[in-house]
Symmetry: C2
Subunit: 145 residues, 2 copies
Amino acid sequence: MGMFSKTCEYALRAVFLIAHRTADGGRVGIKDIAASIDSPEYFLAKILQDLSKREIVQSVKGPNGGFYMDSKNLSRPLADVVEAVDGNSIFTGCALGMPECSSNKPCPLHNNFMNVRNQLQQMLTSVSIGQFNEELNLGITHLKR
Amino acid sequence: MGMFSKTCEYALRAVFLIAHRTADGGRVGIKDIAASIDSPEYFLAKILQDLSKREIVQSVKGPNGGFYMDSKNLSRPLADVVEAVDGNSIFTGCALGMPECSSNKPCPLHNNFMNVRNQLQQMLTSVSIGQFNEELNLGITHLKR
DNA sequence: ATAAATAAAGATAAAAATATCTTTTATTAT
DNA sequence: ATAATAAAAGATATTTTTATCTTTATTTAT
Ligand code: FES
Ligand code: FES
C-alpha cells in the first residue's frame, strides 16, 4: 500500500473527478465516476455514500441525479478528504505506531518524522479540492492510467 | 493506520530495540523484544523471521541465542527496513493509487506529492538503524508507551 | 398517479492483514 | 549423547479492508 488506504485513494480520485465534471453545475453518476477513475463501482458507491454523509460531496437521487460539489465543497482543503476517510492518525500518529506521538516521550524517529508528517499535512491543507480543475480540463493531469 | 503498516511499525521498533540492546555483542530473545516494545509476541516472531531471511537482523538458535545485529546491519539505512516490510510503493507509488507514478501522465497531486514523498525517502535513507542507540541509552527516546 | 432513474442502505462475500498456537530444527550446556 | 533452549517453520484463527449484490427510498419526467 502507498501513503493512503485504497479507500482513500479512490475517494481522492472521485472527489477530483466530481469537482472537475460538475464545476458547471451538472451532476455525475456513480457508473460514470467509476469508469472515469478506474475504480470498482459498488465499492466506490459506498465510499461516496460516506463522503456524502460527511458533506464532502453532495448528491441527489433520481433521473439526472448524481454527485456534485458546490463552491464551498470545492474550496475545502484536500486534507479534509483524507481525514474523513483515513482519520487523522497520518497527521498526528507516531511513525512507529506508539499509542501517541508526543515530544514528552518521543520515539527515536520523532524529530525526523515530524518534519515529513508536518510537510504532508501542510501540503494537504494548503491545496483545495477545486484548484486542480483547470489542469484536468487541459488534459495535463489524469485520474486513470 | 499511520504512514506505515502495523507490521512495519513493529519491525521498526524491534530493529531499534535489537540495535540498542545488542550493540555490545549480546543477543536478545523474542519474548524480551516483544515485551520491550509492546508487541504481540507470536506476530513479532513472524516479522523477525522475515527480517532475518532478508538479512536485516541476524539470529542464532539455542541457549543464549536470540536476535542481534552486526555493525554492517547497524549502518544500514532505515529505509531498508521499510522497504523490506512494506515494499517500495511508499517511495515510488502514486498518491492516488494510479498504476504508476510518472510525470508523463501525472495525477493532479503529482507535483505536490513528489515533494513529500521524496522528503520521506531522503529522511529514511539518510538515517541509519544504529544512529539512534545513544539516545535510547540515555533514556531520551522510547520504544513503548 | 405512474414509471423510470438514481443514490442510500442493508446484507453478504472475498481477500489481505494481523494474530496465535503447535511442531520442527539448530544450538548450547551438561 | 542427552536435555534444555530458542528460533524457524507450519498450520490455523481472527479482524479489517476491499468488493459485490440486493433491496429500499427519493426524485424526476411523463
Ligand atoms: S513519538 Fe514517534 S513520531 Fe512522535
Ligand atoms: S502520478 Fe500521482 S503522484 Fe505521481
